[in-house]
């Protein structure tokens, strides 16, 4: 069998290549294959080779003819196989040899045009058995040779082909048994990478910075075709898997193979498409792994991949954050973080992206401001918009000491403040709180001053806490997953309870970030006045207590700073001395920061409790979750980048899931702490 194999190899290398060429078109190629099968006959190869000289010009003619003859198919090609159409200029990165071969298949591809050009039929297909796999495994362990690798690749391809549902007639092998399939794929994803490395004599990269590309190996030319076939197979496999653990395994394999993908642009593009899908909609581990692969690809070939990938990632981020619920929130969070990582790769490119998208947000806002209609302000007051604001806050704050991105802080702040001031009614308090959180994050980590307090104090001023609630409510309101309160909500007791809690959190959070500022006493002056006024007015003991506590802490901190700065020996103009002083104060700790860290610990405990409570509840309320899943999927299909912000978004508050016994504040910390990330993935809700 080996001998036969060898002969075939020598004879049929062109045909072999053809196959790989077809496969490389990925899942979109089924049409071509069908056509090819029609003309599947063995004919003389001389003509075949001759016509190979026809080269690109001829191919182009064919294509233009095709365009006239069968426009639909041409369109299909345009959509799915750009390389075929732009035949001449693609793949220039590949070697000369490669080019020579590469032209052949294209001349062959359309049997409707060239009846005389054909591929080889494998007369007898070999059925893969467990025994064969064992043999291959052993052989691989011993000495991976190109021939062996080719056999395995062929088998793997056959296996993958079965997933498409049409028997791999053109393959040399056949995989019929599911256990064989399993064994083969498992073998591949376990051993192929090491074998390939050995075969190509690639040493594992020593310093992490530089990736050793397999194309640098002298043996690369010979094995390129097989590698290509194999990589296409992996992508194909990835596209049809559904179970998360399996996907993760394959993704890990793809991660290993990333350097190989980098050498083959077409395969890489297909891979990126799959990765994008996994990143935005997959399970937790697969998301992480997909992100890792994307990151790897971008890191090592920035100039080609970074911009399109960033764009696609942003778009799928926006598409996937239309609905916000306790379950989805961690995923949105994850996407924000990973996107931030991607944006950190090249700040110049990031500036361009951020500039355009922030401007887009500003334009939406301006339209809403000038039109003053319900439809237009709903294009701003939705989850997608808020999550985008938050994303950019996170990006700018994570990439803080950056001269390139620094100028973007100003427009972003202005947009966020403008958003808050657009419809400053009580129904949109939750939205305002989201904005305040984003601003607090941004201002604290970029050391920029942004006035946040006034917007919180306004709430305290506007709401009459003395008024008795119109109705009692069972459920607390989860402010983290709503943007807008219903009219009924506004009358509930839970609304005012939640409001006080939220304000407490937000004020404390903000003052914590400013606690060691030399201007703290001035910063807190209106707050102190307002809180005092509140205590004077308010008759509800439950509300007075936290407010009084807050007031005390703020005043304490204020007097601490005042005392310290009175002893300072420098003037107002001395910026460096002030900076040093602030640093020192920060290190020493202020009363507020000490209190804050205590409070934070407590809070985290509460949140943990909340999560466990939530889990319990989720077990009981499975049907509800399912319903949402269906609904969301439906909507998701329709989404387009165009109408990103157009329709109003929905927020599932899932109040029931957060119900906990005992007195607990029901909030969801957006900022640094990540809650329930691992756990909420387990509930099986796929976005």
């Amino acid at each position: 069998m080996a001998a036969k194999q060898k002969r075939k190899l020598e004879d049929l290398s062109v045909d072999e290549f053809l196959l790989s060429g077809f496969d490389s078109a990925g899942e979109g190629d089924s049409d071509e294959e069908v056509q090819k099968q029609n003309g599947l006959q063995k004919k003389n190869k001389k003509k075949d080779l001759k016509s190979a000289k026809g080269k690109a010009t001829e191919h182009k003619e064919q294509l233009s003819r095709l365009k006239n003859k069968d426009p639909e198919f041409y369109k299909f090609l345009q959509a799915n196989d750009q390389t075929l159409l732009n035949f001449d200029d693609t793949d220039t990165s590949e070697d000369e040899d490669e080019k020579k071969y590469h032209r052949l298949p294209s001349a062959l591809e359309f049997s409707c045009e060239n009846k005389d050009l054909h591929t080889v039929v494998f007369l007898e297909t070999i059925k893969v058995t467990d025994k064969m796999i064992e043999d291959w495994k052993a052989a691989m362990k011993k000495e991976p040779t190109p021939r062996l690798f080719r056999e395995v690749t062929q088998a793997f391809k056959a296996a993958v082909a079965t997933t498409k549902g049409e028997g791999g007639a053109q393959c040399r092998y056949k995989v019929a048994d599911s256990s064989v399939f399993n064994a083969l794929v498992l073998f591949c994803i376990r051993d192929i990478y090491v074998a390939l490395q050995r075969m190509l004599n690639l040493k594992p990269d020593k310093d992490q910075k530089k990736l050793v590309l397999p194309s640098s190996s002298p043996k690369w030319q010979k094995n390129q075709l097989d590698v290509k076939m194999y990589l296409s197979g992996v992508v194909q496999l990835l596209s049809c898997l559904t179970e998360s653990t399996v996907i993760s395994a394959v993704l890990r394999h793809a991660n290993q193979l990333a350097p190989y993908y980098l050498c083959l642009p077409k395969q890489c593009r297909h891979l990126v498409k799959q990765l994008m899908k996994q990143w935005s909609t997959g399970e937790e581990t697969s998301r992480v792994l997909a992100f890792l692969a994307l990151n790897k690809i971008c890191r090592h070939k920035q100039e080609t991949y970074l911009n399109p990938i960033l764009k696609q990632m942003y778009i799928s981020y926006v598409q996937n954050c239309k609905f916000t619920s306790p379950n989805v929130l961690p995923m949105i969070n994850f996407m924000q973080r990973t996107l931030t990582e991607m944006y950190s790769l090249d700040t110049q490119a990031t500036y361009q992206h951020a500039f355009i998208y922030i401007r887009q947000l500003a334009i939406h806002l301006r339209n809403a401001m000038t039109m003053k209609k319900k439809e237009t302000y709903q294009s701003v007051y939705n989850w997608q918009y808020i999550h985008c604001l938050y994303l950019w806050c996170r990006v700018l704050s994570s990439l803080h000491p950056s001269d390139v991105l620094q100028p973007l802080i100003y427009p972003l702040c202005q947009v966020i403040i403008g958003t808050m001031k657009l419809v400053p009614t009580s129904r949109y308090y939750p939205l305002r709180m989201h904005c305040c959180r984003a601003l607090t994050l941004l201002s604290s980590s970029t050391n920029t001053f942004v006035p946040v307090m006034p917007f919180l104090l306004e709430i305290l001023q506007q709401v009459d806490f003395n008024k008795k609630p119109g109705r009692m409510s069972k459920k607390p309101i989860n402010f983290a997953v709503i943007l807008k309160l219903s009219k009924v909500n506004l009358m509930e007791k839970a609304y005012k309870d939640g409001l006080i809690d939220q304000l407490y959190d937000l004020i404390l959070e903000y003052f914590h970030t400013q606690a060691s500022s030399i201007g703290f006493p001035e910063l807190s002056l209106p707050t102190v006045i307002q809180l005092k006024a509140f205590l004077k007015e308010c008759k509800v003991a439950n509300y007075c207590k936290p407010v009084r506590q807050l007031l005390e802490k703020v005043q304490e901190n204020s007097s601490h700073i005042t005392g310290r700065r009175q002893k300072a020996a420098f003037g107002v103009a001395d910026a460096t001395a002030v900076a040093a002083w602030e640093k020192q104060i920060k290190e020493e700790g202020t009363p507020l920061s000490r209190y804050y860290s205590q409070w934070k610990k407590l809070r985290e405990k509460e949140i943990q409790l909340e999560i466990s409570g939530k889990d319990r509840m989720e077990d009981l309320e499975l049907p509800e979750i399912k319903r949402r899943k269906i609904q969301e999927k439906k909507v998701e299909d329709k989404k387009e980048f165009k109408d990103l912000f157009e329709s109003d978004s929905e927020s599932d508050s899932d109040d029931g899931e957060l119900k906990i016994k005992g007195k607990l504040r029901l909030t969801y910390a957006h900022s640094p702490i990540e809650i329930g990330m691992p756990r909420s993935f387990t509930c099986g809700t796929v976005l």
Binding site: S178, N182, V246, S344, T347, Q348, I409, S517, P526
Partner: protein, 796 residues
């Protein structure tokens, strides 16, 4: 309906304020009653006429021949107009001209639009005259057209005028097109109509409307092309206001109203037409003069009747509304009335110099307070524009008078918008203080004695000529009109203040208070000195009552300080209380509150600190600077910029404020940030530490200003402001407004061309994420080692 104004001297303010309200009310009531009576009489007559006309229209069967006739007339007219005039001989032309003049005499005598007749006579034979209209039209048409031709030719104006009409008419119709949509349905189907299907009826209606439009267009163009000859056509056109075919009545009426409005705007002269005295009538005059007189008379009477019609339409609508009777569809009444109001508004603006302007004002002012929002909006806008564009002040005065009467009559239950229109009065330009006029240097001419003493003969001669010339120049310069203007403005403003003061005194709780305070703040520099005492007291009480919103209090403070910074500086009052008020209010004006309040604060500060620097203690100034900087931490960026600029101005006015930049303790005591007394808060013992966070502000301009201030607001050096320093705080506030989401200054390009490096090698920035990634990798690796089931793919 002339303006029957008593020439009695108006009581002065002071007196008005002191005399009892009841007395005043009675006085005004009497006056308005008198007015009303006169108006009522005339309206009654008009109504009678209307009723008669209606009766006639209903009784007489539809004069079908009018439809038939009109198109023919059109054709005829056109035909005649296109006759080649050059075929005529010179003699013929003269003959025809003579004939034409005669004919015009005849027509004038016969037509009903002759010299102004008494109302009663008119109403008596109204029916007959109306009946005449169509028949007469035929005849006049012929004669008129015939004369027209040669005359036009002679003057050589034919092409121009015709062109003008053609371009004018379509646009008019366009604007009217929309109104047709609102036209009412034909409810009363006549016998012939009943037999028709809905479609046919509709087409018939459209056709009718088109016919009418053509008629209107031809009449209108005739009038506009030669108003002196064709003033009678206006009457015909006006006759169409009585259109009684129910299917098209509303539409046609609207069309006619708007067309007439445009026509009057076009042909009305730029002067006021006065009635002729009997002597003048008796005297013989030239033919041209006679023609002009006829035209004027006709115009005035037609204009009057037209205005009466409009008024009547509005009144009908009002009554309809009250009775809630549903006769001809309430909507159509409403539509008609709205169009009338619109016509009146546009006439109000277009012809403020012309006759009957006062009458228009009298009609429109009550409508400003109408329950219908659209109508009141329209009227308020019209008056606002009138005030803005009124240069002489006469029209404004009349309007203000009526407004004040209305406000009083309704016992201050009016819309605030009505009072806000007064804010548009253009009185700021004129210095209306009497003492100013007195002190103004009047040019004295030397008397003879002096001249002889000082000057040589030649010089005297020169001087004489010069003086004569100067005197003439002065006269020509309309210095008289300026005086008149000032007089008018003074009177207007007196009335405005009268309204304001009355409200302040009697109706403090009304919704008008904000408008009043705003108005006072606006005109504060023009208030007479003698009122200051009372006014200050009233405002003081208002502020201390604590019922006012921030904005109202700010208006109070602004009023006080505008007064004091103007002529009030002689008063030597220290309004300490108002300083404390503003000081107390400042922390409440943070970004959560409306941002526009800040602009008033900036205006106040300018008057309080910078202009009155002599009267303000250093303590107070420093306290204000401190609080302003504190406030600038809590407002939107443009307000921050404005406030910082205001502190900068204060620092310049009080150089000793640099104490605030040092960290040294002066004297005893601590700074009491929460104390609301600027004098006693020990502001000398604090420093402007808030400038530090402000230097980290997200807005670039705020950063720059903060840096500038922290270096003591130097005029040169690295911390200097440059071009920014030339703008006032209020200007800066407006320049950096974020209201329409513009980015001023524009967003800067990337700070450097280099890429920033984040993270090293393959590790991620986010440590937690890195952990999770590692975790995922190991999980996946473990999974790979264990048995995996790929069959899902198969089954799938």
């Amino acid at each position: 309906m002339g303006p029957p104004r008593s020439k009695k001297r108006r009581p002065t303010f002071r007196r008005l304020l002191k005399t009892s309200g009841v007395k005043l009310e009675n006085k005004l009531k009497n006056r308005t009653l008198k007015q009303q009576n006169v108006a009522k009489k005339q309206r009654k007559e008009q109504k009678k006429l209307r009723a008669a006309v209606k009766d006639a229209a209903i009784r007489t069967p539809r004069p079908l021949e009018t439809y038939r006739n009109r198109p023919e007339e059109e054709e005829e007219e056109e035909f005649l107009e296109t006759l080649p005039t050059d075929m005529m001989e010179e003699d013929d032309v003269q003959q025809m001209t003579a004939m034409a003049r005669q004919a015009s005499f005849i027509t004038r005598d016969l037509s009903a639009c002759g010299p102004v007749h008494g109302g009663k006579k008119r109403s008596a034979d109204a029916v007959r005259s109306y009946e005449k209209v169509p028949r007469k039209m035929v005849r006049t048409e012929e004669t008129e057209v015939i004369h027209l031709l040669p005359i036009k030719d002679q003057r050589g104006v034919v092409p121009q005028s015709v062109e003008r009409v053609i371009e004018k008419q379509p646009e008019e119709e366009e604007e009217e097109e929309e109104e047709e949509q609102a036209a009412e349905e034909p409810e009363q189907s006549e016998n012939e109509m009943a037999s028709l299907t809905a479609e046919q009826r509709e087409t018939l209606r459209v056709q009718k409307i088109n016919d009418r439009k053509l008629v209107i267009a031809s009449l209108g163009s005739a009038v506009v092309s030669d108003p002196y000859r064709n003033i009678k056509r206006v009457k015909e056109l006006r006759g169409m206001l009585m259109e009684s075919d129910p299917s098209v009545a509303v539409t046609v009426r609207k069309l006619v109203m708007v067309s007439l409005m445009e026509i009057f705007k076009d042909i009305a002269p730029t002067y006021r037409i006065r009635p002729l005295t009997p002597e003048e009538k008796a005297a013989k005059v030239k033919k041209e003069t006679q023609q002009i007189r006829e035209f004027e008379e006709g115009l005035v009477s037609q204009y009057k009747f037209y205005l009466e019609d409009l008024e009547q339409t509005i009144k009908d609508w009002k009554q309809q509304k009250k009775k809630r009777r549903q006769a001809v569809g309430f909507d159509s009444y409403r539509g008609l009335a709205e169009v009338s109001v619109r016509c009146l508004c546009s006439l109000l603006l277009a012809l403020p110099h012309f006759n009957f302007h006062n009458n228009i004002v009298v009609v429109l002012v009550p409508l400003m307070n109408d329950a219908d929002k659209q109508v009141s909006q329209m009227c308020c806008d019209a008056f606002r524009n009138l005030f803005q564009q009124d240069k002489e002040g006469g029209a404004s005065l009349a309007a203000v008078r009526v407004i004040s009467g209305l406000v009083k009559r309704l016992n201050y239950h009016v819309r605030p918008e009505l009072l806000r229109t007064l804010l548009s009065l253009r009185i700021k330009e004129v210095q209306m203080k009497k003492d100013m006029e007195d002190t103004a240097p009047t040019k004295k001419f030397m008397n003879n004695k002096e001249k002889r003493k000082k000057l040589s003969r030649m010089q005297r001669k020169w001087k004489k000529a010069e003086e004569k010339l100067e005197k003439e120049l002065l006269e020509a310069e309309a210095s008289e009109s300026k005086e008149k203007k000032i007089k008018l403005h003074t009177e207007t403003l007196n009335i405005v203040f009268l309204v304001y003061f009355r409200i302040l005194k009697k109706a403090q709780k009304s919704v008008l208070l904000p408008a009043v305070l705003e108005g006072l703040a606006n005109f504060a520099h023009l208030i007479n000195l003698e009122f200051f005492d009372d006014l200050l007291n009233v405002l003081q009480n208002l502020i201390q009552s604590g019922d006012l919103t921030n904005r109202e209090s700010l208006h109070c403070i602004q009023t006080v300080f505008t007064i004091l910074s103007g002529q009030g500086d002689v008063l030597n009052i220290d309004p300490l209380n108002f300083y404390s008020q503003l000081y107390r209010m400042l922390p409440r004006l943070h970004a959560g509150a409306p941002n526009d309040d800040i602009i008033i604060v900036l205006r106040c500060l300018d008057a309080m600190l910078t202009r009155r620097r002599k009267q303000v203690t250093l303590q107070r100034a420093m306290a204000f600077v401190k609080r302003l900087s504190t406030l600038s931490l809590h407002v939107l960026p443009n307000a921050s910029v404005g406030l910082l600029a205001a502190s900068r101005a204060t620092v310049h006015a009080f150089p000793r404020c640099d104490l605030l930049l040092d960290n040294e303790v002066q004297g005893s005591g601590f700074y009491l940030a929460e104390l609301d007394e600027p004098e006693h808060c020990n502001s000398q013992n604090t420093a402007l530490w808030e400038l530090q966070p402000l230097q980290r502000h997200y807005h670039p301009v705020v950063r720059r200003l903060a840096l500038h201030l922290s270096h003591g607001a130097p005029s040169e050096g690295s911390a200097a402001l440059g071009a920014l320093s030339r703008k006032s705080p209020a200007e800066l506030f407006n320049a950096y407004s974020v209201r329409d989401m513009t980015f001023n200054p524009p967003v800067a390009p990337p700070g450097s061309k280099k890429k920033d490096r984040f993270g090293f090698g393959a590790s991620l920035l986010d440590a937690e994420l890195q952990g999770r990634v590692d975790n995922a990798m190991t999980t996946a690796a473990v999974a790979t080692e264990t048995q995996l089931d790929f069959n899902a793919a198969h089954l799938h």
